[in-house]
Subunit: 257 residues, 2 copies
DNA sequence: GCAAGTTGTCCTATACGCTATACAGCTAGA
DNA sequence: TCTAGCTGTATAGCGTATAGGACAACTTGC
């Protein structure tokens, strides 16, 4: 995922080839067109092609052999982490792997307007804001920003947050959790997120926004999560239920990736 | 979503500011720091700052007033289209809006290795490959690439594909649909997809890959979908079911966006 | 062994992104 | 009204990406 330093034209071609490789349009093991041929095809100079191939090489997507050509490499570990989505709330399928959390920020703040509105807070009401990076096997894969109303946030400590899942903390504190609404989208990595996740600026990210509400409609948690798509994806298995006319699908608890 | 032409430095700053605006760190209506001030803060020239602001302006995120300053604009229409995710298979919540399909490609091909494997095809077995762009109110929002085994694909016509949902065509043809598996991720727009969706190269995209299988494990459909995140997102409402110890969530059919 | 074709490296000239600076026109507040 | 500060615009100079070419080293197939 090296959305690299090389600007403009080289980057275009990098993205183009990367897509073709990822989509399987060029199968692993195949020889790519030669550098002069690619330069001709794309109407750029060979130097530019070489820059694009450099990026693909450092991504580990291709092998370059002097005198022989450039070859698409067999992918090694395809999708390390998978989020179980069967209950519509993501949680990790860990399979014995070591996960960790780094707490980047923890404070009580005046929340952004959008958050205050989603949580149905009174004007001036503050929230506990925390920024966490989750790791698996020592490598970061998600960047989580959460807002919790101050009165609820005070029921647990900074140390709790670094070890216990937030939803558990909330329930333990007596906050009633009634319903949730979440949206999944995509965005680009800004400088700070890129830094925290070990990515280049402008890399693609999976984005999840979740608002958890109590029975009276009061906000309990606002979560904004960003995931590295190469290390994390949402995955779900579905079984078909019901008869032909009625097309329905029901989730199957995922157990592996 | 104008991940623009301006390269490198301007793009960085564009992304940085865009993130701060989107996250609410800079509230709507607020005046941004002046261009010279921003230039100083970020260690770049004012021209570069101006390029970043140009992009934000064409995105409709800011208003620039000569002599007065640059202001964060109130967001207008937040999320036009929403996919109902309650049955775990996306389908549009249309709300009376006009949707359309453009068929970009239709042919029988030797499928990529990854697709052949996912569909459990014999070696050499061909597939019907189609590329479609879906529109809402005349504006493109998704780019769909599907592979269907040749024997099934032959049961409907190119014209059918432009009007009837594919899953319906498959069921009508007698193909038994037993289970499906799908994954959601994110990626960047390559040149062709960017062109088809009216985006700049390198824009972020939501990505969905779905494999539909019959009762005997044979493949029925392989779908690779790319969505413009500014026009489309997956959204779901959840109700809490079960008792405290058992944390379970059940989906609620979404009906609006 | 030989020839054709490949990647790796170096060169020069050009195009372009970026800096730095200056100034005009506009706005808001004193 | 006047002034300080803002955006809009233009200019010149510098560094770097790109184009285009040449050559060496290597691999493969004949």
């Amino acid at each position: 995922m090296d959305a690299s330093l090389e600007p403009l034209k080289a980057r275009r071609i990098y993205l183009l080839l990367r897509e073709r490789i990822a989509s399987g349009e060029i199968s692993p093991g195949t020889r790519l067109a030669s550098e002069p041929a690619l330069a001709l095809q794309h109407g750029v100079s060979r130097v530019t092609i070489r820059r694009a191939l450099d990026s693909l090489a450092t991504d580990g997507l291709i092998d370059r052999r002097v005198g022989a050509g450039t070859f698409v490499r067999e992918p090694e570990a395809p999708r390390p982490i998978v989020a179980d989505f069967s209950n519509m709330l993501t949680h990790l399928v860990e399979m014995g792997r070591r996960t960790g959390v780094r707490l980047l920020a923890f404070s009580y703040v005046q929340p952004p307007e959008a958050v205050a509105q989603a949580l149905a807070l009174g004007s001036g009401e503050r929230t506990q804001r925390s920024v966490r990076v989750r790791l698996i096997d020592g490598k970061p894969f998600s960047y989580l920003t959460t807002h919790v109303p101050e009165r609820i946030g005070l029921t647990y400590s900074e140390a709790d947050l670094a070890t216990v899942p937030l939803l558990t903390l909330l329930e333990r504190s007596g906050a009633l959790v009634e319903r949730a609404s979440q949206a999944i989208s995509a965005t680009l990595a800004g400088p700070d997120v890129a830094e925290a996740l070990g990515l280049e600026i402008g890399s693609p990210l999976l984005s999840l926004t979740r608002v958890v509400l109590g029975p009276d409609g009061s906000g309990v948690e606002h979560l904004h999560a960003l995931y590295r798509p190469d290390r994390y994806s949402f995955q779900m298995e579905l079984h078909r239920a019901g008869e032909a006319g009625e097309r329905r699908w029901s989730p199957v608890p995922a157990k592996a990736g």
